[in-house]
Symmetry: C2
Subunit: 480 residues, 2 copies
């Protein structure tokens, strides 16, 4: 772990990025001209200039923080990305791999040989190694595991035994533990002997001989209390703790609510296992909000924006296929009423309005509900009250906006009865949208699914088919 | 600021919430029965039981962390919320007001008199007061400002002079500053005299006599280095700093990238103004991802899920109105081809498929691009490459899925030419969706707007009107 405080990395980042891009472009230009000419009379000069550019690029990269290099790698197309990746210092490789997105990491690892992978991974902590392991070849992981000592190997195994989003997979093992029956003076001297403290250390963990957590000693208290005090006099005895099989997002909410920087992870017996830190929680919150946005749009996962067309297709097909089916169903609903449309073709022009407004309104409701669910704000007692409110909003919207569009339809097609049917259909479809907007996410949760998953596609399917059916049905009954 | 570490608040939170709900329900039942009977023969007994329930509720609330009370308040309908709010200890009022969402805060403040407001706000720090001030009545703010000392008043004014999302409005003023020409031993003794350190203190700020920032002393280094070292030997001289007019989300990204816990805010001259802390950044990241989700669905702002129907209508009308206009435009596009639909009514049934798949695919593209923009991954050199990739994906999707649906149309309506038109229209509309999915957010950014704002409504408007026009236009040319 490098000490970020030593540098001032963010200000010149954009500048540096532009600099990297320029150097890459010059590099490409020469490469292309060599490829075009095919001759060798200029080769020597070109090769020299080429080398000079690469050396300059390497120098620029060496001055950058690993997180910044990760950022630049993500923003580069594949060929440029690999050129830069080759120039990065080996000792930074591991940390960069941890920082980049999954999709980009895949492209980087595909470009490394076994030797490079081992060199990149060997300086990582146990929890970091566990993060990387599933994406490395089996032999490499085997080799890395053998190079670890028993305790570390146990830690990697432990981290790998939990699901990605469980606390046990997110926690790290870099904690400072102390005993309760010593003075703060002794603790201070002990810390000095450690030479370095783990990042994000805002508290020390107080354990007994058996490794049971007795409390935590916030660094703040260590600093302001009399050095002659005993640890057990000053420590907090009932701190916020997490268990390794808890959900990571639950822990993130607790970090957010109680403004934590680090917290101990203990198993049921009370034995200290590891710790969670706020930087991991920040990453988790960011990832969650992103995957929610992607899920809602029907993207399976994070996509490298320069992914190949083929990869992108795979990522997008699942929901497109579902959407194709729902669209087909809506089309067949219209098919039922082809006879009516033949008689009154205005219906074809007006029906998308009913479906479209219903979809928009339903999306508003479902977004609200999914959000309240994510924050755990919905209890059984609340939901009927909530449904009543949403239905009320839908009804008023239906009467008012449906009335407006009904008026327009009347003027446009010179038929007040068509206008009335339009208003009635809008109101009914908005009520359907509100009902489904509440029921769909609740059903998803009851089925043990993520309520955000495909919520937009599902609600739109309901309001499309429903809207067409309601409008064309009413029209068939009352107008024909 | 209470010390969270002293309690173990999160585990029993759900339990406590259920407990609060039960007590509230019992309270309501008695209230209702009194209201129903109208008689007074049971009044004395009821009143006693009533009081007992409220006392029990108050006791439960007193044991909860302010952040937990805020959570419970947000999850309660308005009447229950105000009952609970009345029972909360006054000294927690300020902190709870800071924790709840804007919409809920409004309902709580509306229930307080001036005296209560002043009592709630008077123990807050300057930056917290500035957060609350815009929502308090002018007289109350005036009164509070007069009770502050000069320095604090200046801090509140400074915080109020920045926009909500600027660093200057987010920073706090609780920093520990030291001089560079003293030993660590002196620093340690100084800290002990302070009795308490601000939350999230992971570094001390080193300033000169003029208040210019010379560096930062991470607590980690203070603890592991020899107490006889001088501060300037150990401090980091070029730390990550922010300026007060920077964008808060930019700072949040830096916190995330460099795993910061706190960072100094300095003005251009180098003078130290305040500090940013990771807990504020976590809140910011969460808020941003929420407002992005809300914006995309066409909700103006965060909505209290138990808001009145009237409030909800106001929140949702802006985008519903825009959607009504775009739906009307799409309807008029269909109107242009009423003659064609009259001749071949199958067109009416098939056209929503073309529009719907286009909308879904366009939403996938725009979600990707908006995300890449939020991470600052799009440079001018990249965008044409990206457009080419999206067009490639769209073309393949169009040919394959358009082919499938074209085949179905052929079988269903027994017309291979109709099937061909369907496939061609699908492909063209997917290409339009890809083009607009890239161009809309880029144009938004060029106009200085948030690229996520209404992106879903805009792309759907394009793919609806465009899809109807392409499909019905091709059909009119080739089939009739």
């Amino acid at each position: 772990m490098s000490e970020v405080e030593e540098r001032k990395p963010q200000e010149p980042l954009h500048e540096r990025f532009v600099q990297v891009l320029e150097l890459l472009q010059r590099h490409r230009l020469i490469e292309e001209s060599v490829a075009r000419q095919g001759s060798d009379h200029q080769d020597r000069v070109d090769a020299l200039v080429q080398q000079q550019h690469l050396a300059e690029l390497q120098q620029t990269l060496a001055e950058l923080h690993p997180a910044d290099i990760a950022y630049i790698l993500e923003a580069l197309p594949l060929d440029d990305r690999l050129t830069v990746w080759q120039l990065v210092r080996v000792e930074n490789d591991g940390e960069i791999l941890l920082e980049v997105s999954d999709a980009v990491r895949e492209t980087l690892i595909a470009d490394m040989d076994e030797h490079e992978m081992i060199a990149a991974a060997k300086d990582l902590d146990a929890d970091e190694l566990a993060d990387l392991a599933p994406e490395l070849p089996r032999d490499v992981v085997q080799g890395l595991m053998e190079s670890l000592d028993d305790q570390q190997r146990e830690q990697v195994r432990s981290a790998l035994s939990y699901k990605d989003d469980q606390v046990g997979a997110i926690m790290d093992f870099e904690m400072v533990t102390i005993r309760e029956d010593v003075t703060l003076e002794v603790v201070l001297r002990y810390l000095r002997r450690l030479k370095e403290l783990p990042d994000q250390t805002d508290k020390l963990f107080v354990v007994d001989v058996a490794g049971l957590l007795k409390g935590v000693l916030p660094i703040k208290r260590l600093l302001v209390n009399d050095p002659d005090c005993m640890v057990h006099e000053v420590m907090a005895t009932d701190p916020v703790t997490f268990s390794p099989d808890e959900d990571g997002s639950y822990a993130a909410q607790a970090f957010e609510r109680y403004d934590l920087v680090s917290a101990p992870v203990v198993e049921k017996s009370g034995r200290l296992l590891g710790r969670l830190t706020v930087d991991e929680m920040v990453d988790l919150i960011r990832e969650e909000s992103e995957s929610e946005a992607l899920n809602r749009a029907g993207l399976r996962e994070e996509e490298d924006i320069f992914a190949s067309v083929w990869k992108s297709l795979q990522n997008r097909w699942a929901w497109l296929a579902i959407n194709l089916i729902t669209a087909f169903v809506a089309s067949r609903v219209i098919g039922l009423f082809e006879h009516s449309i033949e008689k009154l073709v205005a219906l074809a022009a007006l029906m998308p309005i009913v479906a479209g407004i219903g979809g928009n309104s339903g999306n508003q409701t479902i977004t609200m509900i999914v959000r309240a669910m994510a924050l755990d704000q919905l209890s059984t007692g609340n939901s009927s009250r909530l449904l009543r409110k949403e239905l009320g909003v839908a009804f008023i919207n239906g009467v008012i906006w449906g009335g407006v569009i009904g008026l327009v339809a009347w003027l446009l097609y010179d038929s007040w009865s068509l206008g009335l049917v339009m208003t009635a259909a809008m109101t009914l479809n908005l009520l359907l949208a509100a009902l489904m907007g509440v029921l769909i996410p609740m059903t998803m949760v009851r089925l043990g699914r993520d309520p955000a998953l495909g919520s937009s596609v599902l609600i739109t399917a309901m309001t499309d088919s429903g809207g067409f059916f309601i409008f064309l049905g009413l029209a068939t009954i009352f107008l024909l």
